[in-house]
Structures are given as structure tokens and as C-alpha cells.
Amino acid sequence: MKSFEYGDGEIGTMEVSYGVCNMVIGFGVLTLPRTLAGMTESSDAWMSIVLGGAVALGFGWMVASLMARFPKQGFRDMAAAVSNKAIANAATLIFALYTLLFVSYETRALANISKLYLFDRTPEEAISFFFLLVVIYGVAGPSISLLRLNLLFLPAVLSILLVVLAMNLPLFNVHNLKPAFITDWKGVASASKGTIFSFLGFEIFLFYNAWVNKPGKARRAVLSGLAVPFVVYLLVFLFVIGIFGSVVVRNTLYPTAELAKQVEIPGGFFERFESIFFTIWVMSLFNTAVMAFDVTLIAIRAVLPKTGRMTWILILGPVVYLIAMQPQSVTEIETFGEWISYAGLAVGWGFPAVLLLAAAVRRVKGDEKSA
């Protein structure tokens, strides 16, 4: 490895793949099996995952196409190129609002699940607060370093997940997966909505596009980044159903966490395996939150460049915290998450789709030199 390799302030294909993957795998894995089992019978939701995954890959392709079409340009420049400045600014600010809410949700969800499984007495307010402080510390640095952090964290996150699954292998009962194909298509379709939600997040790379150094490979990078969560969701879902059975999954708040809790390694320390699982899982949630916050800042600064990054951090930090504290119970947090998912669908996937269409119709192409 050459010493100046990382000095260029650019991200390559690998950073994009890892970033997409880490952004998508977040809180979703913990709750997705329950959402799916609630809407389908037995193990039929694998079809929903495939369906939802296909839709997500489709949108991933769109986002990547935009990235390839407008090399070295961020979302605002893309939007400005196809429409006019005012629309581009408005769209960018809406995007910023969405990612800001996303950070709030992520912070709160993390606090909630940590309180349930790890800190019985620490108030959620405190957990959120400390988490947010670390996130703010993260975004205070350059964006590039956050993207590179993914390379460090993602392998750890994926391996702990695989370890949890492997440890549960002896409890896997194939009979739980049967009977197959008994859910009507409506159930499968509505469950795939849940899957689509958990694929949200990668759209932020529209902003990171400014640093991507090989725009030609953007499609491959984004799609391979999405393939990993796709496999992970399928695997986790089948394991959770195979181990607990559909009815139990439906009635368990965080089935994947229960999977980790069930692991028993005799001999002291490791008997509480879920603590390790959560510690590492927090890394994934941290990455997701920190990237979302970072994109909020990038988006806002694209529209209002006069105010410095640090100033925005100090303004938005408390806002994130206050929003995060609004939901009063688990159900309210879930509703909050659902709203944000709808917003993400509209903003994160709707905007790029419209943008790509408009760019194709108007034959607008980004020019690398202008960037």
C-alpha cells in the first residue's frame, strides 16, 4: 500500500459498495422478520424479500445511472442541470430534511433497543445524547473518512451476524419453514413493502457522488453493495423462522436480537453473547447515522454555502436530539420510522427516478470538466 493512496480525497468502487451496504443494513435487520411474518404465513415472506429486493435493485440501478451520468456532481448540481436552480435548491433542502429526520429516528431506535437489552437503568435520553455526541464528533471530520470507516466496520458487523446465525444452526428446524406457498399474493405484495423500506438509505450516495473517482463503475458498485443486504435479509429471515417459527416471530419485538440472546456459550463471559452482538451492531447504526447526518450537512451547505460546516453541526445537533425525543413509546417510535420510510421512498427514490427520466428526455449529461 502506497502512502499517498488515501491522500487524494476521493472514494473508489469499494468505498461505494461498502457504504451502500452499511447504510442499508441498519436497524431493519432487527425488525424486518417480524414485519414480514406479521403479513405472511409460515416462511412465505422470502418471496416478498425477493420482490422487494428486486424493486430496490431497480432503484439502485437508477441512482447509480444518475451517478454515472453526472460524474463528480452532487445531487443539487444534477438537479440544477436538468431543471433550474430554484427547484434544485428546494429538492436538496427536502432531501436534507429527510436525512435529518433519519438521523433522529436512528438515534432514538438505537436508544430504545439498547435500553431494552443492555442498559436497564440508563435513561433513553442519556443513551441518545451520548450516541449523538459521538455522531457529531464523527461528522466534525471530513466526509471521506466516514466513508472509509465503513471498510473497517462492515466486516465486523457482517461477521458477528454470521456467527450468530451459525451458533443457532443446531436449533434450526426445517419443519418450521413448511407449509410453503400458502399466503395469497396480496399478503406477499404488502410484505414486500416492508422489505423495500429496509432497503432505503443508499440514495445518499447521490451526494457522495462528488468524490467518486470511477463514475463508470458506479452501477456495479451500488448494485453489489445492495446485493449483500439482500442476501443478509433472506438469510436472517429464514433462520429466524426456522428457529422460532412464524407465530413466535410475529409476537417478538426484535426477533434477530432474540436470536443473539439465545446463543449460549458455556463459560462465564460469553454466556451473554448478545452484549457483544449489540456492541458491534451499534457500530453499524453509528455508521448509518453518521453518514445520514453528513449528507444533511452536505445538502444544506450545497444550498447555503456561506455558513460553515461546524456552525451547521452545532445548530442541527440539538434539533436532531429534540426530534428524537418526541416519540413517547415503542409504538410511536415505530410510527415515526414508518413515516420516515415513506418520506425516504418519495424523496430518496422518487426524486432520482424523476431526475433520471427528465435527464433522459432532455438529453442532459453531466460534464466532468465543469465539476
Binding site: F119, D120, P179, I182, V247, E258, K261, Q262, E264
Partner: protein, 382 residues
């Protein structure tokens, strides 16, 4: 000056940073290893925790620790278990810590009153509980089970827990049932079986099974042989010894491997008919017979006799469950669910509830036995 200010700032940050809100020193935790729950006359519970006494448990040989017990049982009464558990904090210097709870014993009375769902809610809901805790039903008072004085293991709970892991050696213990399993039984509204623990003098025995119907009421117990039959039906039998008579003298068949296959004829969806085919393999463990079992015809006769015996054992448990307990713990309902879903959907509410179709379904049992090894000798005496 600025440097000094910075330094103080950093030092003060340390105060906040090093803290852990939820810290509890390990010495301050009362480790609960087992739980027993009894019913009282006033619809309340008596909750008993078995605490480990770390200092006594540390002494190397159990003999030397004869004077001091390595456990302490504490009981508290309450209308809810949570309340009862909290009450215990009044009496114990160390508040109960449940992460290491290995077994939960329910009293027979509680089970008969159908209160198993009330009891288990806390154990699934609370984050400190583990899904892998084993659930058992005690014959008589549950509390008593935690009071045996095990000669080998240090704690009564260890003793019961280790014994429950013995289905590999015994044909009449049903596989350990965890709290996770029971949650599923409760949600699926099917009949189920849970291991039984009973106490005699200073021993416990885990042979047998407690049968619960779909409304979560304990219907009764299966004895040693019936449990063996049940294990044949569910395919959970791993080992066992079956005695048959060859020319009036006992021969023991040592079961090494068994599998079962169910097929169903659902032409009449109200009255499905099942074929259960068990294939067992094993050795001759002991023979007092005068015949040389190395001879092919003798071996074939023995195989047939063992097969008939297995079928008879299964038949007896089937009759008991169909006629007396009217609860399907043999896996027929599951089989229909998995393989004939349309039929199952239409009859599941009447299967072993309401009209109880299970009690009237026909079951055809066949057992094939293959003897692989007869041991080192043909016959023991001339």
C-alpha cells in the same frame, strides 16, 4: 493558563466518560439458577428462587462443603410474579439476577388450573430472562424439587438440568422444552408435552411427560413406557432398551437409531387416516434365551418381536391420548399443517379442541426393526 484550563476540562470530562450508569458489581448480584412456581389457595403465586452462594460453590470438593450448602432457596408470595420477585429483594442482601436462570419448575396444581400462560409471560417478556431456560412440571409441590440434596452435583438445579439432558441415553425422557418452545405452543394453540420432574427421597426423576391440551390445561401425565411411545411417534427417540421374550426368556434390544415416517390419507377431511411407520435399528444388548440368535430365523423372529413390542407401546400411548387426554401431542396436527395445509386450515379448530377430531382419527402403526449386531456371542449357555 489556557493549557491549565484545557487540562482541567479534560480531567473533568473523565468523570462523565468513565461512568457506567447500569453498573452492578458482580459481588452484589444474587445469581438465580433455578425457579419454582407454586399456586396458593388465594389465586396467588409462591415464587421460589434458588440462589448460588458463590463462596460455598468455590470450595473444591463437594464433600468438604458438606457443612455449608452452596445454595439458598428463597420464597415469596404475590399475586403477580413480578411483585413476588421484587419482594424477595427485601429479604435477600443481593437482588435476584436472572440471566443465569437455567430451569423453571411449575407445580402440577398451577398447570392443572391452566395458569401456565400467566406464569410464563414474565419469563418471555423480561429482558433479563433467557429463552433457553428449561420448563418442567413437577408432580406435587414445585418448591420441593429445588430442595433435593444432590450427591454428585453441587446444586439441585445443576442436578436436574444435567439429568434433563439425558434423552441420548434414556428413551423415556422427552427432549428439554425451553421457554421459547412453550411460548410457541401457547401462541399456536396446540396441545403439547413438557418434561416432568418428580422427587423421591433425595432423588429426582425426569422420566415421563406432562400433557397439556390446547387450552393450556394439564390433562395428566404419561408414564415411563407411554413416554417412550410418544418419543417414537415424534421421532425424538435416540436410544433405548426394549425387552421382549424369546421362548419365554427375556432378550433386550438396544435401540441405536430410529426414525418415523407419517403419511396421511385426507380423502375424508373430517377423518384423516394416518400411517406411521417406524424403522428402528439396534443391537442385542442382553439375552437369556436359549436359542442361538446368530441363526437367521432366530434373528428374524427377534426382529419381528421387537417390532411388535414397539408398535404395542405406541398403540398404548395413542389410546391414552385419544381416549383419555384427548390431546394430540404426537405431531399429527403439525404433519397436517405442513403437508396438507388446506385440510388443516378447515379442521384445525376442531382438531383437539371443540369436536376433537383427533380422538376419532384412525392411526395405523407399523414398526420395522433391523438388528445389526448381536454382540460377541451367539448364546450364553449350552
Amino acid at each position: 493558563m489556557r493549557k491549565a484550563l484545557k487540562a482541567t476540562g479534560i480531567m473533568m470530562a473523565l468523570v462523565v466518560l468513565s461512568g457506567c450508569w447500569d453498573r452492578v458489581e458482580i459481588e452484589e448480584r444474587g445469581f438465580v439458577v433455578g425457579t419454582a412456581i407454586d399456586a396458593t389457595d388465594s389465586a396467588a403465586f409462591v415464587l421460589t428462587f434458588q440462589f448460588v452462594l458463590p463462596s460455598a460453590a468455590q470450595s473444591k470438593s463437594p464433600q468438604s462443603g458438606q457443612s455449608g450448602k452452596s445454595f439458598q432457596n428463597l420464597s415469596a408470595e404475590g399475586t403477580t410474579l413480578f411483585k413476588a420477585a421484587r419482594k424477595m429483594s427485601n429479604e435477600s442482601s443481593r437482588p435476584p439476577y436472572m440471566e443465569h436462570n437455567k430451569i423453571i419448575i411449575l407445580s402440577e396444581r398451577l398447570a392443572r388450573e391452566g395458569r401456565i400462560e400467566e406464569v410464563l409471560d414474565l419469563f418471555i417478556r423480561d429482558h433479563e430472562m433467557r429463552r433457553a431456560s428449561k420448563v418442567m412440571v413437577s408432580v406435587g409441590e414445585a418448591k420441593q424439587m429445588l430442595e433435593v440434596n444432590p450427591p454428585i452435583e453441587r446444586l439441585p438445579v445443576q442436578y436436574i438440568n444435567a439429568t434433563s439432558e439425558n434423552p441420548d441415553k434414556s428413551e423415556s425422557i422427552i427432549p428439554p422444552t425451553t421457554i421459547g418452545h412453550v411460548q410457541r405452543y401457547l401462541l399456536e394453540e396446540l396441545s403439547y408435552a413438557i418434561p416432568v420432574v418428580r422427587k423421591t427421597d433425595n432423588k429426582v426423576s425426569l422420566s415421563g411427560a406432562a400433557v397439556f391440551n390446547a387450552n393450556n390445561r394439564l390433562q395428566g401425565f404419561l408414564d415411563h413406557e407411554q413416554t417412550t411411545g410418544r418419543n417414537f411417534f415424534t421421532g425424538t427417540i435416540r436410544a433405548g432398551a426394549i425387552e421382549v421374550e424369546l421362548e419365554g426368556r427375556p432378550v433386550v434390544f438396544e435401540l441405536k437409531k430410529a426414525s418415523r415416517k407419517i403419511t396421511a390419507n385426507v380423502a375424508d377431511r373430517e377423518h384423516p387416516a394416518f400411517d406411521v411407520h417406524v424403522s428402528a435399528e439396534g443391537n442385542v444388548g442382553e439375552s437369556y434365551a436359549n436359542r442361538d440368535i446368530l441363526k437367521p430365523d432366530a434373528l428374524a423372529e427377534l426382529e419381528k418381536k421387537v417390532g411388535d413390542k414397539i408398535a404395542a407401546i405406541m398403540e398404548s400411548v395413542l389410546v391414552k391420548l385419544q381416549k383419555e387426554y384427548r390431546s394430540d401431542i404426537l405431531g399429527f396436527g403439525n404433519y397436517l399443517n405442513e403437508n396438507h395445509y388446506a385440510v388443516w386450515k378447515s379442521i384445525r379448530d376442531d382438531w383437539d379442541r371443540n369436536r376433537n377430531l383427533f380422538s376419532r382419527c384412525r392411526v395405523n402403526i407399523r414398526a420395522d426393526v433391523k438388528i445389526r449386531i448381536v454382540g460377541a456371542i451367539g448364546k450364553s449357555q449350552l
